[in-house]
Amino acid sequence: MPLDTSSRGTPLVELRDISIAFGGIKAVDHVSVNLYPGEVVGLLGHNGAGKSTLIKCLSGAYQKDAGEILVNGDKATINNPRDARTYHIETIYQTLALADNLDAASNLFLGRELTTPVGFVDDAAMEAETRKIMGRLNPNFRKFADPVSALSGGQRQSVAIARAVYFNAKILIMDEPTAALGPQETQMVAELIDELKRQGLGIFLIDHDVHQVKALCDRASVMKNGQLVGTVRVDDVSEDDILAMIILGKTPEELGVASAAAG
């Protein structure tokens, strides 16, 4: 691998040799990826490649069968989403994971409600905070009183993004965060990612848009059929190289060697 990461010290997160199977299907098969502070790593691959499953092992939604997770160089035990939160890992799930019957503020603070001195949930304070953060993410958002089932797909996605960035995450996992967003909102998320990166967060970004990955990410890891094809620095490769990795499952070097041998 021509990636010189050794000189940058300890990674923020390191996933080592992660495997997980559902029944007979090896959804993730000995995959290792890592992430440095202030870095965005793209995760790419065809549908069903195992991207979501891999990051769910990190977010605590699934328990890995084998492998280990290191946070700041120390072995981390992540058995459930509560554990992940204690490591300041926040996740935007592909399915968004919103409670449809609750409003935006209740969803944003779900599991971490603001309370009054008596210990009751402080709905007014939570709504005020939600209005503030939504003002930054999606200024057109108005539906604070409605349950999120009444929101559009993009509005729902904004709520999920707001929830992940509100709580001072150190590690952010974004599983296709802009899939339902319009161009303007997508642009705002891109700016947000840049800003969070400057603040020193590490971000795993799952995205099918190779162009966007090249624009937003520092490195890209490509998966195919549960296995890691390879990790490349996006500036060193072309969009076509990345596409070849996704579709053929071969890194540019392997392809280069193959074409040299053929020629």
Partner: protein, 431 residues
């Protein structure tokens, strides 16, 4: 022409309701309840809406209504509890044993000792919580569907109660314990007024507090007149209810006996109203506590979130398994409290106490707008649902409808109520 007029009137009405921010669903249920009352009042030549009958109706509703508040939580989290009637019987048996055998004989306190009732009630609640938590553990941690766990519980606990008492009726129960049954324990007119005024003050304070909190966060608030109107309606409803209960007079011979019991002679022409029964006061307190839990605590928030999307709740770090245990434990505690009211009303524990209550309780919650799909339900709705069911049942009994036909009507009403609810939700786009 007439069409446009009615159209604009409808718009006006909608605007009024929006301004008041009242739940139109609640209004619909109150409307249905009023219709039921008026129809039976006409059919019984005015016997249905007498102070006496309203008094009886409220005390008959209490036991089912208390359990219905807990059933709301159970159904909101996408579970069901078919065992509440049997659980009530087991709690009732435990409490009856405690007060007729354990405290008088084993603790040597004798009969009608002031500590007997509190000890018995604690034993009952502990029993209910333990059994409920056990159900919750089977459902939450072992993954057995609640339908099956509580269907088993329905058979198990009914017959555990039978074995505890050898199938015998146990009574009479402790005199202080019997105060919780309804007519044997009422506050009297003066205390009822005091409670009513305190309740009005509390309600007005809550309204004012919520307005102030909205203002402090720059959220829109209702116009002042709407606020005042709402406060006035609430105050009149509370005071009116207590006035009705107070105007149900204790019969003369019964009063004389009460004076005799205190070694006094009843003054000539003395009268007294029953006032608020302790059991109804208990129901009101439970309703307030359960509403606070549902709306203002994390537990309530997690209950609704889990019902709305269990996966999302789990991913948000909520321990949904432990939550299931808590929800069933609350249900168990409420079954025990209902058992206090039910057995105190009968003045003894009998084998068939609470039989078919599971159906009444589930029906009350569902008529009250709790969605079996989970995530939606209100405490006041369930209580109103229990009241509507009880009114139908007593009203039909007063009119002289045959028992089988009564059940046919109640069953049909349940199905129609859910249908109306589905149509209403579709129309308003609410979920």
């Amino acid at each position: 022409m007439t069409d446009t007029v009615s159209q604009s009137q409808r718009v006006e009405k909608r605007k009024l309701l929006d301004t008041l921010e009242v739940d139109t669903r609640l209004l619909g249920m109150i409307g249905a309840f009023i219709v039921v009352c008026i129809v039976f009042n006409v059919l019984t030549d005015g016997r249905f809406l007498t102070a006496r009958n309203i008094f009886n109706l409220t005390i008959q509703t209490v036991s089912v209504a208390i359990m219905a508040t807990g059933m709301v939580f159970v159904i909101v989290t996408r579970h069901i509890d078919l065992s509440v009637g049997s659980l009530l019987a087991t709690c009732s048996a435990m409490m009856a044993m405690t007060q007729t055998w354990f405290t008088p004989d084993i603790l040597g306190l004798g009969l009608n000792h002031p500590l007997t009732a509190p000890i018995a009630i604690l034993v009952g609640i502990a029993t209910g919580v333990a059994i409920g938590a056990f159900h919750g553990w089977l459902v939450g941690y072992l993954g057995i569907p609640a339908f099956i766990v509580t269907l088993g519980g329905l058979l198990v606990w009914r017959n555990v109660a039978w074995y505890l008492t050898n199938g015998q009726t146990i009574g009479p129960l402790d005199a202080n314990f019997r105060l919780w049954g309804g007519i044997n324990g009422t506050l009297g007119a003066q205390w009822s007024w005091i409670v009513a005024i305190a309740a009005v003050a509390f309600a007005l304070y809550t309204l004012w507090q919520s307005r102030r909190s909205k203002i402090s966060h720059d959220f829109p608030v209702k116009p002042m007149w709407a606020e005042v109107l709402l406060g006035a309606i609430v105050a009149i409803a509370i005071l009116g209810f207590v006035w009705i209960l107070n105007s149900y007079q204790i019969p003369g011979p019964r009063l004389e006996r009460m004076f005799e019991a205190r070694g006094e002679v009843m003054p000539e022409g003395f009268t007294a109203g029953y006032g608020l029964p302790l059991s109804v006061l208990l129901l009101i307190l439970i309703a307030i506590v359960m509403t606070l839990v549902a709306r203002r605590t994390r537990l309530g928030r997690y209950i609704f979130a889990t019902g709305g999307n269990p996966d999302a709740a789990e991913l948000s770090g909520i321990n949904t398994r432990l939550l299931t245990v808590k929800v069933f434990a609350i249900m168990g505690a409420l079954c025990a409290i209902s058992a206090v009211v039910a057995s105190a009303r009968l003045t003894n524990h009998s084998n068939d106490i609470g039989t078919l209550d599971e159906l009444r309780v589930i029906a009350a919650a569902v008529i009250g707008g709790t969605a079996l799909a989970g995530g939606i339900g209100t405490i006041y709705g369930a209580i109103l649902g229990a009241l509507i069911m009880q009114s139908l049942q007593s009203g039909m009994a007063m009119v002289g409808v045959d028992a089988p036909l009564q059940n046919i009507v109640v069953g049909s009403v349940l199905v129609i109520a859910v249908l109306v609810d589905i149509i209403y939700r579709k129309r308003t786009g609410a979920k």
